[in-house]
């Protein structure tokens, strides 16, 4: 599949409809590419470039500037844990260490089963609900390791079931 797939047509059109020039749609379209390929892959870059009438170099540049575009393949669940000051004051650093240990990966790593990628990120504007993280762009707040373990187990079970 590619971005030329029917299922994206309406969203692509909606993105272009917002702005007076094509180039402005590059950010929304990069999100679509990421959705399609699981990351901002070289094919995704080329397709977005063609759609926005830009040189692929410029699209890569945009993809590289922002942290929410991943230029590397990542796990099914992309966990971005805020370890910034306000969260850290409420135990986010320890939480993150434990989470990494639980999953057996380093910062930025992906679990062997390809399910989880973890990385630490800067403030996510949820400092009053620390520890918190963002999983595939959805917030999970007021966390502790018990909650996390249960959640991880649930996701693993789901994946195992899906395999069968």
């Amino acid at each position: 599949m590619t971005l030329s797939d029917k299922k994206y047509a309406q969203r692509i059109q909606a993105a272009f409809a917002k702005y007076p020039d094509k180039r402005s749609a590059v950010m929304p379209l990069l999100y679509l590419a990421q959705e399609e390929y699981g990351w901002v892959s070289p094919e995704g870059i080329q397709e977005v470039a063609a759609l926005c009438d830009m040189d692929p170099t410029q699209v890569q540049s945009i993809a590289g500037f922002y942290t929410m575009y991943s230029e590397k393949p990542k796990g099914k669940y992309w966990l971005q844990v805020c370890t910034d000051l306000a969260c850290a004051l409420r135990g986010a650093d320890e939480f993150y260490e434990q989470l990494k240990a639980e999953l057996g990966v380093d910062d930025g790593g992906t679990t062997e089963d390809g399910l989880f990628t973890v990385e630490h990120v800067m403030c996510l504007a949820a400092c009053d609900k620390a520890p918190m993280l963002q999983c595939n762009f959805h917030f999970m707040e007021n966390l502790d390791m018990d909650k996390m373990r249960a959640w991880i187990a649930e996701k693993r079970a789901e994946a195992a079931k899906a395999k069968k």
Binding site: Y19, C123, A125, A126
Partner: protein, 433 residues
Amino acid sequence: MTHILLRGRDIPDIWKFDVYVKNGGYEAFKKALGMEPKAVIDEVKASNLRGRGGAGFPTGLKWSFIPQSEPVKYVAVNADESETGTFKDREIMETNPHQLIEGALICAWAIQAKAVYIYLRGEFWDLAHELDKRIEEARQAGFIGQDIQGTGWSCEVYTHLGAGAYICGEESALLNSLEGKLGQPRVRPPFPAQKGGGLYGEPTVVNNVETLTNVPWIIANGADAYKKIGTEQSAGPKIFCVSGHVVKPGNYELPLGITLRELLYDHAGGVPDGKAMKAILPSGGSGPIIPATNAVLDTPLTYEDLGKIGSILGSASIIVMDETVDITWVAAKVTKFFKHESCGKCTPCREGTYWLDKVLDRIMAGQARLSDIELIDNIAKNMQGVTLCALGDFAANPIIYTIKNFRDDFMQHVQKAEAKPAPKTRQAAPAGD
């Protein structure tokens, strides 16, 4: 007190269009449409409303800079909210979104804008998609689109998602990002309000979410009523984001002018576990850090008073630290943030944040020397006032003020390091040639 901004706390369903309208929603917009655009600007000017995004610039004055002769103008709503410790705009948009939309529309009418772009940080993914629905409701009701309320004036409202870059909260970087360019700040002048400086080169008002959310109330109740809230120079209500070592972290909407003590103890419940309060960052990671002395705690939270104690109100994100916190660690943490978020465009910020981080890593790794403290102090000072945008200054603040106000914390690292056997000899890099 009843809330003006966080009205969702008084009327939980006010995020719904009909509930909002039932409670007087969009009446201010209709009223504004009956006024001359200039009269709307004058009313906002008279209210003394100042920008809630950090810089505190008078809002009405900003609107008045827009050259009316230009055919195309824009409003950009700054919903990038990325400052460490800031989470107020998010609550507004989650619980009272129509008031933001209404405020933005009033601004758009006042400057006769063609479109409003709400720039949300990418992490507000779910929120942005909700907001799209609220915008659609307002459009269905005839508040957005062609020939609004029969005035002949047309205006669109769109959301735009960022993708993880603090710098895109800086207004000119925000505009670049919206245009699909690298989110780096622009040279100013021309300023966004001027021809050539705004979105697609057209005059543009950039305002913070909270700022605009004040506007419907001002138009509905008049500038005089608004000025009665707060102090002479700092009018109106303000949302204070309280985080860190307090019992009840969260947002507090209170009139400007209450003291830190009232906010942190009466409202946020003070420091947990009976610990003493050591330090306060009154403006997120970027503002000067101050010791929590009695004098500080008795300072009214206003633009003018915080300046007097060597800090700033900024976006009023107050991070509290108890007595157990090593302020050196705070400096290192905040420095990591700015190193990560420096856009890289200008030299002192790009290189300075990298260098500061390296030295602080050494200090935190137990290899601190007295000269390292002088070094980071000096690097930070060399970054001040010379960068393209204020991020460079923001990055310098934590270093300069932690050393100034909490030198002892640094000295402890030095003493600990000196007590250990001498580290491997460190090789200084030769100079340029």
